[in-house]
């Protein structure tokens, strides 16, 4: 039993890491309806920039600050240069554009900062500690704590601030938002800036976990089932979806892995996602459209 609990807790905490990436998607999707495939590249770019600055001997906080500015600037630039000229185009066009952006960011980041694998040390000791008879990784706990703070901050931002309400208004009906004087472009820039910030957090934690390397961009693929399960428009959904995927992955690996010959965790999340698409396409917390009859 304690083995099961340990597996479950480990999985849940790992799932939080997926949630961090998924939150970046949710932000942009909510405000502009764009599925930003470049989110993964932004995560890589953030981690790579941070590591490079640290290697040059910069102080931790200074490096974090510079990386943050780079990421916010990158987010705003993508909105300004790529997406703004494509306003009112079909969704698929916007999606393809972000796909292109992801290649450009990956390429440029690696030309400028090199393609070798870096180690990233955040100064968090990764020794397991025992809580109530269950071994828990300290690093995972720190990541979960960070995600928790991020979620609370973002939900206050979206529900209590004027910018947040305006962003939700745009998500609901851009034409109506325009008609009452909400400046779409300014707000899109803000949301892309925030997405840059979120990708910094995700980049640092993922980079510290896996090492900073090209494969970091692939976390996008793992964020996809998280989004489908949790719902594309809900930050809370991104967290719950992450927890489900994380827990599902690790429990399935242990209990189904032996029956099916291993590596269940590589596909289990996608099977879950397909099941959700069949039963509840808006996701657990996604905003099911309100339809008047």
């Amino acid at each position: 039993m304690s083995f099961f609990v340990e597996t479950l807790v480990g999985g849940l905490l790992a799932g939080v890491m997926y949630s961090l990436v998924a939150i970046g998607f949710v932000l942009v999707f909510k405000a502009s309806g764009v599925f930003n495939f470049a989110q993964g590249s932004m995560v890589l770019c953030a981690a790579l920039t941070f590591v490079t600055l640290r290697d040059k001997g910069l102080d931790f906080w200074l490096a974090a600050l510079i990386t943050l500015s780079v990421m916010v600037a990158l987010g705003i630039a993508v909105e300004r240069v790529v997406l703004r000229p494509l306003v009112n185009r079909p969704q698929i066009t916007l999606f393809m554009a972000t796909l292109g952006v992801s290649f450009v960011i990956e390429g440029v980041a690696q030309i400028v900062m090199g393609a070798s694998v870096h180690e990233l040390d955040l100064g968090i000791v990764d020794t397991p500690i025992e809580i109530g008879g269950v071994q828990v990784s300290q690093f995972d706990l720190a990541a979960a704590g960070t995600a928790g703070i991020l979620v609370v901050a973002l939900s206050i931002f979206f529900n209590k601030t004027r910018v947040g309400i305006a962003l939700r208004a745009i998500a609901d009906d851009p034409q109506a938002a325009l008609s009452i004087g909400i400046r779409l472009q300014t707000l899109w820039q803000i949301v892309w800036g925030v997405a840059g910030f979120v990708s910094l957090i995700a980049g640092l934690l993922w980079g510290a976990r896996q090492g900073v390397q090209f494969a970091l961009t692939l976390v996008v693929l793992k964020a996809l089932p998280v989004l489908i399960i949790g719902g594309f428009t809900s930050i809370a959904g991104a967290i719950i979806g992450g927890l489900i995927v994380g827990a599902g992955d690790s429990v399935a690996e242990i209990y189904l892995g032996s029956l099916l010959g291993g590596s269940v965790s590589t596909w289990f999340a996608y099977v879950l996602a397909v099941a959700f698409l069949l039963v509840r396409p808006a996701g657990l917390f996604g905003e099911a459209p309100i339809e008047r009859i």
Partner: protein, 263 residues
Amino acid sequence: MTTSQFLEVDNIEVLYSQAILALRGISLRVEKGSIVALLGANGAGKTTTLKAISNLLASERGHLSRGTITWHGEVTRKLDPADLVARGVVQVLEGRHVFPQLTVEENLLSGGFVRRPSRRALADDLERIYSWFPRLKQRSGVRCGLTSGGEQQMVVIGRAMMTRPTLVLLDEPSMGLAPIIVEEIFRIIRDLNRNEGISFLLAEQNAHLVLQFADHGYVLENGRVAASGSAAELAGRDDVAEFYLGTAAAGASTAEPIQTPGI
């Protein structure tokens, strides 16, 4: 010609997608403090005229291909829709475009942001709206998508009022609503006009109703002004009713027949 101190639309043409000519030279003016009705059947160009004035055509791939619109003597062509809202021109879109996932209160608040008011001023404005639409106060915490059609129409009018406009472009406020609700909404419009001095340019198909409230009216047909005059004048003319009811071949018996040249 003289430039009006208020809204002046001078001989405008609107093209959609560089190909479809929706307005073929419309001129009209709204005087400060008046209610002006824009009448016409479906597709006559009422909505396009309003969107041309509020600069909302761009999001539908439309643009002003000829003519000018001036607001307080300023040509509006280069202005962002938000700039126009800040200058006091706000449009209430056809079909009750509420933000369905936002609460009634959030919907109303969103209209106030353009002026960047203090927290205090925003709360005061909200109370002002609630005093006009007491029903919205009871529903303040409900997500707007779940409210009734009449309530939604009140929300979008209230939301527009939150921008503190001097001219409201109101598109088909009666569409799909029960007659008793329509009466209520028109009474509120009249009160806003009398007590707050807000001007309205009202696009409506329900000519009989709107001419009771308006000072002046324009009848559009096929993207042109087919007739205009004071509300009483228009209400008295038989041919105006024909535009809507189709009792005769529409436009065939107009007092000012319009020759349609080929384009």
